[in-house]
């Protein structure tokens, strides 16, 4: 079986017109001044991500890692059908809160991005922006077989196949769909990984930034945002 459809990533030639609101323009302020606006420069920070060092003392870093593992704040962002399996975790039957797992509504405060199911190219763009807005250390968990190898969307024209080519994945939870019990087991595995200090996805993303960007740009055809946006 071929790893990837060669035609899937090839179309980088087509020119897409830039969105109207992102074009540079002149704006007259209320006092009559005329100023130049260049949205891509002005509205976003252009600075690439940096590799952040661990704490100097190992005991401090271990303590921090324990806290990070015991306080996983999941971003409430469902990309595919897997999002439906997250909801039971908040209910009396599975109750993930007792393990320190909570849901946050904003990427600034969350530190775990669940890619719950298939990721269409359009959603990938949003997932990347969301991931880059989160503050490190941050973790990515791929949910379901769609994130591992495309799953049942293997020969789809518009979904990505291997999530780890676009975002640094810490853990996959296999299944189609994985049940909430599998999710809980996955969270426990993630906790072990964080406590051992092996979940350094944010630093990996910063180190291999060019490789990730090349992969992302190869599939996202209308790339109308800065390379790094937060």
């Amino acid at each position: 079986m071929k790893h990837m459809d060669p035609n899937f990533r090839k179309d980088t030639k087509t020119e897409f017109p830039q969105r109207e609101e992102l074009k540079p323009r002149k704006v007259t302020t209320p006092d009559g001044q005329v100023i130049d606006i260049e949205p891509l420069q002005d509205y976003f920070c252009q600075e690439p991500p940096k590799v952040h060092q661990k704490s100097y003392f190992k005991i401090v870093e271990d303590f921090y890692n324990w806290c990070r593992a015991e306080s996983l704040w999941i971003l409430a962002f469902g990309t595919g059908c897997g999002a439906i399996e997250m909801r039971p975790l908040m209910t009396p039957r599975f109750d993930a809160y007792r393990y320190g797992i909570q849901w946050r509504a904003t990427p600034r405060q969350a530190n775990l991005l669940m890619i719950s199911g298939y990721l269409s190219v359009k959603t990938l763009k949003r997932a990347i922006r969301t991931y880059e807005q989160m503050q490190g250390p941050k973790y990515v968990v791929g949910l379901g077989s769609c994130t591992i190898n495309g799953g049942m969307y293997w020969d789809s024209y518009n979904t990505i196949k291997k999530l780890e080519e676009y975002l640094p994945v810490d853990l996959y939870i296999a299944g189609c769909m994985p049940r909430p019990e599998a999710l809980l087991a996955g969270f426990m595995e993630l906790k072990k990984k964080i406590k051992a200090g092996n979940a350094e996805g944010a630093n990996k993303y910063a180190e291999k930034f060019d490789w990730y960007k090349a992969n992302q740009k190869a599939v996202i055809k209308d790339w109308d945002m800065p390379d790094y946006n937060w």
């Binding site: 920070c45 991500p49 940096k50 952040h52 303590f63 921090y64 806290c67 990070r68 015991e70 306080s71 704040w73 409430a76 209910t91 009396p92 109750d95 809160y97 007792r98 320190g100 909570q102 849901w103 946050r104 509504a105 904003t106 600034r108 405060q109 530190n111 503050q135 490190g136 250390p137 944010a202 937060w230």
Partner: protein, 301 residues
């Protein structure tokens, strides 16, 4: 001017005790809420872990000076509110920095944090923050009206603006409490209490299901840690004021813990049985029910 070092030490100790009490109590309240809905709930020490986790974040971004000062102002409001009212009545150690006109200052500090937050969150430039601030300020302003009227009523009743004197007048039995000597003012103040505790039905401002999640949308890491500290400190400080004004104050830490928990549970009980109000609904509610009761309290005095 000589600096009263022991008093500063005791004030710091008060702050320490109240923050830890608040950490445990808010977790306990969430646990009770979870048990009501049939869940096991968060761990009792979860608040501490969340705090350390947020402080330990490696990357943080800022949106300017005011953005940074927002949580600082918010925490200042909580700390100021706590330190300028007597925490434990009749104890020189735990009266902190209370003075002759502290009731007026307390009223001001209740509002101070919200204003600071408004400036800070607006600086972050996130539209959700701006909407959240607008909603929060309008709701808090209306909810404070009954409290202000109730405070006027009881300061007329006791002829003083000193919280210590008000507590002193309520000593000597449960029927000397303002709750029984002036029930209308107490009722008016409890409208404001339920309205400003950021719990359902008046928590549309920070509700994650609404515009996510209101003013703190952009806040993270240490900024958020400051706000979390304030989230556990501020309700306790506010409850202390209500305890002093209407429920006879506390003469020791044990009584303090019991009374604050009981008064806090008022807002929790109201919250678990009532669905959320929209902002205009809650404003109408306070103008329709809270304000007349407050005016009535003044008239009756």
């Amino acid at each position: 001017m000589s600096i009263d070092w022991p008093r500063i030490g005791y004030a710091a100790l008060t702050l320490f005790i109240v923050i830890n009490y608040g950490m445990i109590m808010t977790a306990l309240v969430r646990k009770i809420g979870a048990r009501v809905s049939g869940r096991y709930g968060i761990r009792i020490y979860q608040n501490y872990i969340d705090l350390v986790k947020n402080i330990a974040l490696r990357s943080k971004i800022t949106h300017g000076v005011m953005y940074y000062l927002g949580p600082v102002f918010r925490l200042t409001g909580g700390v100021g509110l706590l330190l300028f009212v007597p925490t434990i009545y009749g104890s020189a150690m735990w009266s902190n920095f209370s003075f002759a006109g502290d009731l007026v200052l307390a009223l001001y500090f209740v509002f101070f944090g919200t204003l600071g937050m408004a400036l800070g969150a607006a600086e972050s430039g996130h539209p959700y923050s701006a909407i959240g601030i607008t909603r929060g300020l309008s709701q808090v302003t209306v909810a404070e009206l009954p409290l202000a009227l109730a405070v006027f009523a009881i300061s007329l009743q006791y002829q003083t603006l000193n919280i210590t004197d008000i507590v002193a007048a309520q000593q000597g039995g449960i029927f000397n409490w303002t709750l029984f000597t002036n029930p209308v003012a107490t009722l008016a103040a409890l409208f404001a209490f339920v309205g400003t505790m950021m719990r359902s039905p008046f928590d549309v401002v920070i509700a994650p299901q609404e515009i996510p999640i209101g003013p703190p949308t952009e806040y993270h890491s240490s900024y958020l840690a400051l706000m979390q500290t304030n989230r556990v400190l501020f309700p306790i400080a506010k409850t202390v004021i209500y305890m002093n004004l209407f429920f006879g104050g506390a003469t020791n830490w044990f009584e303090f813990a019991i009374k604050v928990f009981a008064i806090y549970m008022i807002s929790v009980l109201v919250g678990v049985v009532h669905p959320r109000f929209r902002v205009e609904q809650s404003i109408t509610f306070f103008l329709k029910w809270g304000l007349p009761v407050g005016v009535l309290a003044i008239l009756l005095v």
